[in-house]
């Protein structure tokens, strides 16, 4: 009787363990991508401020904005629209760059947010939210400054 009870408890624990383990495994496997637009903004600043921070000290800026697991900081960047193009994935790319600056912030939109990018005009001031993928730096081989890259972007209204 007593032994049966123990066996029963052990069996229940084993099944529960399997379910929890399997659940965690399945959760990890099917874990969805972070929804950038629904996630809170980490930093809000102007495109000139971000460019200046990177040009001043790239190492320090990378420490501040990039995360080791690739889920880097979510930024709201305010700046002037200097260009609107389309990438190979059919996504709109809005460049925020102030006149006379060596670099700006390139913001890649998504299929769902593309229409908000195409509605923008060159020269307009706008705030765009997205996740930072890389910062601004001078590339001696490209012989130019690279723009910071924001992805999963949308206009902040």
């Amino acid at each position: 009787m007593n032994r049966k009870k123990i066996l029963k408890i052990v069996a229940i624990l084993a099944v529960a363990g399997l379910l929890i383990g399997g659940g965690i495994g399945a959760y990890m496997f099917f874990m969805p991508h972070r929804d950038i637009q629904k996630s809170p903004t980490d930093f809000a600043l102007t495109s000139s401020e971000l460019v200046a921070e990177y040009l001043n000290d790239m190492e320090q800026a990378n420490q501040k904005y990039l995360s080791a697991d690739g889920e880097s900081k979510i930024l709201e960047i305010t700046g002037t629209v200097a260009g609107i193009t389309e990438d190979y994935n059919g996504q709109q790319v809005v460049l925020l760059k102030e006149p006379g600056q060596v670099a700006g912030v390139s913001c890649t939109f998504m299929q769902e947010t593309n229409s908000n990018a195409t509605a923008l005009n060159i020269g307009q001031s706008v705030t765009i939210k997205g996740v930072i993928r890389s910062g601004v730096f001078y590339d001696p081989d490209l012989e130019m400054h690279l723009n910071a890259v924001l992805e999963k972007s949308d206009v902040v209204f």
Partner: protein, 189 residues
């Protein structure tokens, strides 16, 4: 005397800026590109896409450069993307950009001024995760009016760049050699 000096300075400045301008004119910049990683093992196929690299091609000396923001690689599964970025794999916080610096070695067989598709051989150096290795690639250059498109497909051995898995799921599910596809579009000025 003074006027001659000023005129001379102005003349030299103009000549210099003209040469600088003509050199810049041969160098085309593209931020429209697509880089794809493809790994296949009996366990699974893994694909990642990046649309945000910047590259230049110099049509007069054949120099080709591209810089790839590594965190811009997107995977179908969020966990794969995390693994890709972390310090055991590509350590993208420490090494946010990969780069290729090379040259088209058969430039005499490519005519950037005439429409057509040309076979190109590129030799150069690839830097991934801070490790630089020589690389030879084959590709095609397609000239269509004002646009130039470069296509290339080549293999990368991960261990060459210090990316090695000895145990666990990544060791069995990620191929030792991955296929990389590159497409970039440049506009003639």
């Amino acid at each position: 005397m003074k006027t001659t000096k000023i005129l001379l300075t102005a003349f030299i400045t103009i000549v210099f800026s003209m040469t600088a301008f003509s050199q810049a004119g041969d160098r085309l910049v593209s931020s429209k590109s697509h880089i794809k990683f493809f790994s296949t093992t009996p366990a699974e196929d893994i694909e990642a896409n990046n649309y945000s690299s910047t590259s230049t091609i110099n049509t007069s000396n054949g120099n080709v450069v591209f810089s790839v923001p590594m965190q811009g690689f997107e995977f179908p599964k969020a966990l794969m993307q995390r693994h890709f970025n972390n310090s055991d794999f590509l350590d993208t916080k420490q090494f946010p950009n990969a780069r290729f610096v090379g040259k088209i070695v058969n430039l005499d067989q490519v005519d950037f001024s005439a429409n057509g598709t040309y076979n190109a051989q590129v030799e150069g150096e690839m830097t991934i995760k801070g490790v630089t290795k020589p690389i030879r690639e084959r590709g095609t250059i397609t000239v269509r009016g004002n646009s130039i498109e470069i296509n290339s497909k080549f293999n990368l051995t991960l261990a060459d760049y210090g990316i090695e898995f000895v145990k666990g799921k990544p060791a069995s599910n990620i191929a030792k050699t991955v296929e990389v596809t590159f497409v970039g579009e440049y506009q003639k000025q």
